[in-house]
């Protein structure tokens, strides 16, 4: 009986598996391009094989290590900041009892997500330029010298992380709000009866309810440990900050401008995927060992 019932579960999985197989696994045949000097008119079969040459070209450069490190540093910081800020924001928002206000705040913070980086990057550039509001109003009033934020490598990284958070935290908050709304209110009532203040309630009820979803989001975010955000960096960077701000994707883009990028692009994509996949596995194992939670 039980078994028969469970057989249905496999049927349920079927549509998803077919879709994924057709649209994701079949095209993976294209990964062979990583080992080819791919010529579109020759196709996968006839393009010349070059072994590891594409990888060598990417990693035998003087700046390879630096570019990978930039990518890793920016991506990791973003992962952490984009996890912590939305969680804290969700908790603070959860305290607002006025429903109208809560809705308004929620809606407003999610708006920047919808501006593309071309537009948002332009706005960030204007604000931080030598004639922008920060350098003409804020810093002088604090008695500080103007700072060329986007022309200095360290400031550049800072700007990249903060502006990314500014744009995305509101959208990222949604999933935590959804988790909060799944909490059974009777748990709070019970805590209240026990005499717990709000701080204790947050620790005892709210946070534990959030932990699983934080682990899920965090683990899956590990997949982008080498995705520092091409659109953003591309719209903000310039040669002055190459040493601190050039990332793998911008590098591939520049190479692609003079060379059809398929071989190299695929090779680097493969590298990024492999690293991301390993990181997800590590995060998965760590979560199940230390937090005793398996995300699937």
């Amino acid at each position: 009986m039980r078994l028969r019932k469970n057989a249905v579960l496999y049927w349920m999985l079927l549509p998803g598996m077919i879709l994924v197989f057709v649209f994701h696994y079949l095209p993976m045949a294209g990964l062979v391009m990583a080992f080819q000097d791919f010529k579109p008119w020759l196709g996968f079969v006839k393009s010349p094989w070059v072994g590891w040459e594409n990888f060598q070209m990417a990693f035998q450069r003087e700046d390879s290590l630096q570019v990978v490190w930039n990518t890793f540093f920016i991506a990791c910081t973003k992962i952490i900041v984009n996890l912590v800020v939305p969680v804290v924001f969700a908790l603070l928002l959860n305290e607002i009892r006025h429903m109208g206000l809560k809705k308004v705040i929620q809606t407003l913070v999610y708006l920047p997500h919808f501006l593309s980086w071309v537009v948002f990057g332009g706005i960030v550039g204007d604000i931080l330029s030598s004639q922008g509001i920060i350098n003409t109003l804020v810093l002088p009033s604090l008695g500080l010298d103007p700072i060329l934020f986007l022309a200095d490598g360290n400031w550049f990284r800072f700007v990249v992380i903060v502006s990314d958070n500014w744009k995305e935290f509101g959208f990222a908050t949604i999933v935590f709000l959804a988790a909060l709304s799944n909490i059974d209110p009777s748990l709070y009532e019970a805590a209240e009866v026990d005499g717990a203040n709000r701080w204790r309630q947050t620790w005892a009820v709210t946070l534990p309810a959030l932990v699983p979803i934080v682990i899920v989001v965090g683990t899956l975010a590990m997949s982008s440990v080498l995705n520092a955000g091409f659109d953003q960096i591309f719209n903000l960077y310039n040669p002055l900050v190459y040493d601190k701000g050039d990332i793998i994707d911008t590098f591939v883009y520049r190479v692609g401008l003079l060379n059809s990028e398929f071989g190299l692009g695929t090779a680097i994509g493969l590298f990024k995927s492999a690293v991301g996949f390993i990181m997800v596995i590590i995060a998965y194992v760590l979560a199940s060992r230390f937090a005793n939670y398996r995300i699937f």
Partner: protein, 290 residues
Amino acid sequence: MYYKTKSYRIFYALNIILLSLISLACILPLIHVLALSFSSGLAVSANKVTFWPVDFNLDSYKRTLGDADFLVAFYLSVARVVLGVVIGIAVTVLTAYPLSKMDSLKGGRVIAWFFVFTMLFNGGLIPSYILIQKLHLMNTIWALVLPGALGVYNMILMLNFFRAIPKELEEASLIDGAGHMTTLIRIYLPISMPSIATIVLFVAVGHWNAWFDGLIYMQKENWPMSTLLQTMIKAPDLSQRTVSDAEIVNLTERTLKSAKIFIGTLPILLVYPFLQRYFVKGIVLGAVKG
């Protein structure tokens, strides 16, 4: 009650101030774009516009909305979102439900990794393009909807939301003689509305904003709105060609671009407040239990 204590009240006041400031910081960029769109091109290029339109006019909107292409593109985008959400949610829920029951699902973990693997590895543009062509999906809405129908990220989220639902509910239902399908539809879905609303939002926003697949797979007359806007906003590289004075002037038309950006964003912005009621008030689990 905790919120009557003095310290909590101070916190509450500070909290409201903080959140309001943050909200302000988030709305200002959009207001800036909006102000640009209502201003004259001249005022914009003279950097006179910040948050309030200068030389208020509606020309950009008239010009954009007067475009016949635009209405078709709008329709296609809506169709894509509706179809994408319906199919996407159906597949996501159907996949997430069994995977949330690892105990009853032999080989479930392997299947889960089968899905997660595709989050990372992909064959890239060329094989996907050839595939779409071989399946004869070129220039059909299915080329935009099917490849991403199962968002693995969303599926994993859904799976975890499902797992947070108390086991007793499911067991009661199964013992009552209902099958998994009935349990999913009668028990799981109603109490998962906040999570489903979240996924609906993610899928809808994703479909609305996607432009690249439209550019690659669709003929121009079938471009969805974001694809159309993308090409209307981007300036091609003119440095090598003979440009006319009219082109130089058009290049600097930030007003028109802003109007297009805003028109392209507005419909999807409206989806959220509509879904919001599902987040603000949680479902009272106790009521379902009882």
